[in-house]
Amino acid sequence: MKSGLGVKLLWFVFFLILWEIIRITGDFSPLVYPSLKSILYSLITSVTNEGIINQLVFSLGLITVALITGTVLAFLLVLGSHTSPILDSLLNSLISFFHPLPGIAILPVVILWSGTGIKSILIIIIHSVLWPMATNVYAGYSGIPENYTLFAKNYRMSKIRFFAEITLPHSMPYIFAGLKISFARSWRALISAEMIFGAAGGKGGIGWYIFSKRVFMDTPGIYAGLIVIILTGIIIEELFFNYIEKNTIRKWGMIN
């Protein structure tokens, strides 16, 4: 089920052509179903005049900060949980409490606690990163074969060495899976939060871009925003995650 970047782009072009065919053959209001030309025009002016790229970089910057923070927190939680059974049950309970909570559902509470600034958006993204990440790291950590643990004990490996040389490499595939899920979840949480908050911190991200297009009834602009989100998702998945995966865990033969 793996298709490369090229194939995905081919399908993308296929749908664009289909879009035009349906638009030309059907009788639609341009406010509902704008032409490809007007969408492309809107996309180009967004890039040249309205700084959609800056907004995108802003959004991705927030996600990067949240991904790093969330991953570190997840590791701390999992490491902590392995020091005592009480902490272990605590982490398990926390995960089952918070994992099913969509980031956007805690938005009203976050606004009450810390207002509507960047801090609140960060809290929401970290929330959507932390729990899937913790689940995956936990699975990776618990899946370490007993042989390794006994071996480490035998050699009186320090906790730090055990973490760096056994836990970390062994958890790598899980961390990657966790990163991918976390990215998808945080990307969605961020866009939804921006559409509700508006321009946090003076310049909104891509969600705010779509929202402002909507309130001014700029339908081609809405579609342009969606296309930017789709393309960003594809690029990050294909170029970033798959590239790193290929050069690390796949190269090391940890996954096929």
């Binding site: 059907g26 207002g115 509507t116 321009a199 402002s212 001014f216």
Partner: protein
């Protein structure tokens, strides 16, 4: 190769099936009406709660009521054919008309005391806002946003001064954010939220809607799609009559109006009475202020075309 052709065909079929969605016509005769949140919609709420329109429509007609949270949702519902009549502020109506929506205004509902409320002691005028101050309002392009831009232009010469300091929030959320005295330093809002805020210790109004506009104006109006209005002008004229009667009813007998409306709000009746008769809360079907909005919005590129008010109203 054959399997490729087959799958492409399959995709086409699925898409064609889906593109047929939402296009089915209404079989029985029905008028679908949407209101939003707030005291300004009181005449419509009375008509809905007392089922006045239902009793006045010809035989075979029914009414469906909706409550949508913003005008963008109303416009979208109308475009998809799921809504005939909607109530909204004048600027969002103009934005839709400018973008090519086929709709007209047939009535106003009221003038209302809208304004900008703050809790910060050092803010007296718009120029006192600092970069880190945030203003909550429903959304860009809303009547609150346009009024704020009008005042910003008058006081500072720059209508877009606050565009990057706006936080979009529905009125109840905006009120909570303002009252918590966090990063939202001001809230541009309307009844009953503005009254609740002004009753709190230390909250002041530094700009009223009338000051921003330089005159009075209709706060909320009712719009109907051309489709519906051309097909059933008599239904719209019945609706207009009923709204006119509800407006008169609220103005002449507010006590009774409040007893009807109380179940619609979580307010005690005396509080609701105070809000409904608040100074500046005038229910009226006459549309006013449209020209000022058009002029300002055209000059500052919120709308592209120079609209004449005559083409905006039903006959």
């Amino acid at each position: 190769m054959r399997s490729t052709i087959r799958s492409v065909l399959l995709i086409f079929i699925i898409i064609i099936i889906f593109s047929g969605c939402g296009k089915e016509g209404k079989s029985e005769k029905k008028i679908i009406i949407a209101e939003q949140y707030g005291l300004a919609y009181a005449p419509v709420q009375i008509i809905r709660l007392e089922k006045i329109l239902e009793t006045r429509l010809p035989k075979g007609w029914s009414v469906e009521w909706k409550k949508l949270s913003n005008t963008a949702a109303i416009r979208e519902a109308m475009l998809s054919g799921n809504l005939d009549v909607g109530f909204m502020g004048l600027p969002p109506f103009l934005i839709g008309y400018d973008k090519g929506m086929n709709w007209k205004m047939f009535t106003a509902l009221c003038e209302a005391p809208v304004g900008l409320v703050t809790w910060k002691d050092d803010i007296m005028t718009l120029s006192d806002f600092k970069n880190e101050d945030r203003i909550a309002l429903p959304q860009p392009g809303s009547i609150q946003h346009i009024l704020l831009s009008m005042a910003a232009e008058r006081e500072t010469g720059n209508p877009g001064l606050f565009d990057n300091r706006i936080v979009t929030m529905a009125h109840p959320d905006g009120m909570n954010a303002l009252l918590s005295k966090n990063d939202i330093t001001a809230h541009f809002t309307s009844p009953p939220f503005i009254m609740k805020e002004l009753e709190e210790q230390g909250f002041r109004m530094i700009l009223s809607g009338n000051d921003a506009m330089g005159g009075s104006f209709s706060f909320i109006g009712g719009a109907v799609t051309d489709d519906f209005n051309n097909k059933y002008p008599e239904i719209i004229s019945i609706l207009s009559d009923v709204i006119g009667e509800a407006v008169d009813f609220i103005e002449t007998d507010p006590e009774k109006a409040v007893s009807i409306l109380a179940e619609n709000y979580n307010f005690p009746e005396d509080e609701l009475y105070k809000y409904l008769t608040w100074e500046g809360m005038n229910f009226s079907t006459e549309i006013s202020g449209m020209n000022n909005f058009i002029e300002f919005m055209h000059k500052n590129s919120y709308i592209k075309s120079d609209i004449r008010t005559g083409e905006l109203y039903t006959k």
